[in-house]
Symmetry: D2
Subunit: 160 residues, 4 copies
């Protein structure tokens, strides 16, 4: 439990993202519906998607060189301020899922990710949505008007 | 684990809701932030709210005589088709929370609940939002144009 | 989101626990099975119980005057080091639940809570278990040999 | 939402497992700690591990030809009856994780999986444990004395 020496552990794969950019500019992670994602109706509980959306944007940032844990350590946080999801069809136990995200052009302090959750071949669309974050200075608990430089530079590297 | 005789268990409090109607027409449940609701930032993880919103609407229906489990047993389901949340302020470990919901006038097949998550004295507003459900015939997997009668009657009993 | 002035919020009910001591020395919280607790099998997913066990012990400490958030603020943490659960019967959607816990005599650095999860009338036993915690100095990340005084005193006030 | 034609969707990768057998006979899935896995202490909340353990055993079965969703459809369920975990060290945001599982020799109706959760290079051990399941006839809600044939055959194909 005590983790006094966590800092000294080597993390040779810290910059390795799970997910890839598609030819049409999305960042995609794939996953599969496990029992813990489902509810009594035998399909994915509507709140379970939130974890997939988070994983997709965290790994997208990692793919362009920004480890979320490094942002946090540097004193920056990215809380969600807005969440809007539409559920088009339900996903069942064992189904494979593609979770795709892309960044909207950043305006002011709001960073908005749009999402498509579909079958891997994109034939069936399950959920679409948008999640908006702001950058916050952890110490002060205040919204930061300018993105941290590492984040701003990384975002510029994203496919348009 | 085997629950062959679950049906025969008495449930004398099945109609007892946890929550109350406020004078200004909301249904309110109160809860408190536990460790499992929080994330690394020391505040409630944005997805944790979804469970509170669900509890509030399920218990609101129970308070007007509709057990969600009875709806399900009768072949009806109420999947979420739309979710929109705005996060205004963060909630910390141990904070008390009031989760209030009310039904919008039902139009067509869409049942929309609006939400306010605040401190119990309403002085601090944390989250506002809307969650929209439709009624589905579980057997056919199709949206039902008319609400089940017990549900329609109960909704008519709600404060306007 | 920014929560710079969270500290100044009044919290008049911070010492109010949700739960009560029973005549035979358990601390009991009651809850009800919501859709998000269930899985495809229509019963409570085995991991969902963990949240109830946590709530029960956190509220038990609060009932004897120790706010978990205050412990954390004072630099102490109580990570789980051991978890052992037996699932006797399954719990279904809408079922009412009694979650009861009591502390075992503290030996050395280990604080063990034993648990019974049952129907409110105790006629049906669903889950039994034991969860063991240790006290950790958050700054040093090391196990603390002596309980913080407030915690030690509070534990002495627990029914034997 | 309505999913009347879910059955007709092609699932060309239904038999593809995420995870691999190691040379020393474990089945291993790798993952990474996301914000939703953590709690206020900045480390993985003790209940979050349960989802990883489930994914590992479900994907292990898939790797030997048994889709969990097919078992369920055929009327069989595998509820957890016993769970025992020891937490040795904490895992932080962004850390890579190896979750390894193997089946103990099946005795009677109990199917026990043992677990090791460690860093990918196995240098740091975070959690060890055992999860025991039984096979249940979903219709009757009774424990089945004999494993379904597909499951029994698959288990025989597992590395000893």
């Amino acid at each position: 439990m005590p983790d006094s020496d966590r800092q000294t552990e080597p993390s040779p794969i810290a910059d390795e993202a799970c997910g890839t950019f598609t030819e049409d500019g999305w960042f995609e992670v794939q996953t599969r519906v496990q029992p813990h994602h489902t509810d009594y109706a035998g399909v994915v509980w509507h709140g379970s998607y939130i974890t997939w959306l988070e994983t997709a944007r965290v790994e997208c940032l990692r793919a362009i060189g920004v480890g979320y844990e490094d942002l946090v350590r540097s004193g920056c946080d990215l809380p969600v301020v807005d969440l809007a999801l539409r559920y088009h069809r339900s996903l069942g136990l064992g189904d494979r899922v593609s979770v795709r995200t892309r960044l909207e052009p950043v305006r002011g302090v709001r960073i908005s990710w749009i999402y498509e959750v579909s079958s891997p071949d994109r034939a069936v669309l399950y959920v679409t949505g948008r999640v908006t974050l702001v950058t916050v200075d952890r110490q002060q608990g205040r919204i930061v008007r300018r993105l941290p430089e590492t984040l701003a530079e990384a975002i510029n590297r994203l496919p348009a």
